[in-house]
Symmetry: C2
Subunit: 216 residues, 2 copies
DNA sequence: TGCATATACCAATTATTGATGGATTGATAG
DNA sequence: CTATCAATCCATCAATAATTGGTATATGCA
């Protein structure tokens, strides 16, 4: 039955194609960005600080594993995740990594806003408060990403514009800021700025992908 | 802010450590086996037909990613998954692979028992029938794996013993056979044998890990 | 104590992947 | 129909991973 082994190996090899995609830090960063919505190669390259050529070749691997789709719009080529389940897998993997790798936990603590961030079990009470208007949920990602998808009741002020638009935010209620997920620094920066300006600000680690998985 | 990039890369690198584990077919096979319960290096090597040394070195990588734990019992060292969520991730990854990779779908069809296997949405009705005793759910994995965990209402007859113990099975009810999951050939073989002997037999692709994820 | 067994560790070899520079394709604007 | 911009393809080199053989360590047993 050597035939059986050959067929089995074939199956595992196929699955490993998917695993391989998630085995490179650069590709993970690209996937996280693609979880925020479709983007051009150039945009992805700029936001990850990876050269366009290298970005392109990593995207090629995502494409060959059928995890992303492309669409040409004029001069640009837009990449998007082929399915929501790709985002789900990214969330699952980084969540497992956070559970199992002490090094990652330590590194995350460093970027945590001083006291402590909002964590998983607060999600229900957070939504309740947001619904009642007791807190402001603030999306500090670029506007297009907010338009593509955002947390319920969230308001959009991109980090870049935050300093100029501070007046839009109330000082008598807590501001809960979020961005692309736990590895994105936008929300942490926003919280730092808000606190400095006398606001009550809290960092929510979830991005829309994490939120969606938690809701499921 | 070059510092920010450095810290971000560190985070993605950590997550990539987990991804890397799932990027090798051999390691995937080992993980699938470990989903069935704890096993010694030798057992894992034998059941995967991988040399002991190579098995040991792959297991070392699993250990360094904190995805497995070891325990010495006399001469042997037993490996087990460090957490249920590792099994969940394996299920998620191979499920995504099956959704996205046509090559994998085709390869799976080849090992499918002729008409078609039981699929996802049958799970509820399957359990109902099993509860009422209208069908027999048959676990054809080695006995230890059954003892470690098995589907509700399942009965154990390891494939090796099946031919000798046919008399224990009824001919007037359907036998639903399952094994370690969709890449394991035990259940397919069992179904072939049962059909040949005049039984009504159906192949259930789920293993305990897949079942557990579907229940969640 | 010494030997056998199970497994880990180390070194060397080959295969695969990641990264970079140069040339190429496809589309738009003039 | 040429220039330009976005993105890919290709060739190359460096880095990393997989595999194998040899050796070391720990346990149990005589």
């Amino acid at each position: 039955m050597k035939d059986a082994r050959k067929i089995k190996n074939l199956l595992y090899e196929q699955v490993a194609r998917i695993g391989k995609v998630f085995s490179s830090p650069k590709r993970l960063e690209l996937i996280e960005l693609l979880c925020q919505g479709e983007k051009t190669v150039e945009t992805l390259a700029r936001e990850t600080a990876i050269s366009v050529k290298l970005t392109s070749s990593h995207l090629r691997e995502l494409r060959m594993a059928h995890l992303v789709e492309t669409e040409r719009q004029g001069k640009n080529i837009y990449y998007r995740l082929a399915d929501k389940s790709v985002a789900d897998l990214w969330v699952q993997i980084h969540t497992l990594a956070e559970e199992r790798l002490i090094e990652l936990q330590l590194a995350l603590q460093k970027i945590a806003t001083q006291p402590d961030d909002l964590v998983a079990n607060d999600r229900d009470s957070l939504m309740k408060a947001a619904r009642k208007g007791e807190i402001v949920v603030l999306d500090v990602r670029p506007a297009e990403e907010y338009l593509n998808a955002h947390l319920p009741f969230a308001r959009s002020i991109p980090l870049e514009e935050l300093r100029l638009r501070l007046a839009e935010l109330p000082k008598d209620r807590s501001i809960v800021a979020y961005c692309r997920g736990p590895y994105c620094l936008l929300a942490a920066d926003a919280v730092a700025l808000l606190k400095q300006e006398g606001y009550t600000a809290i960092h929510l680690r979830d991005g829309v992908a994490e939120w969606a998985v938690a809701r499921a």
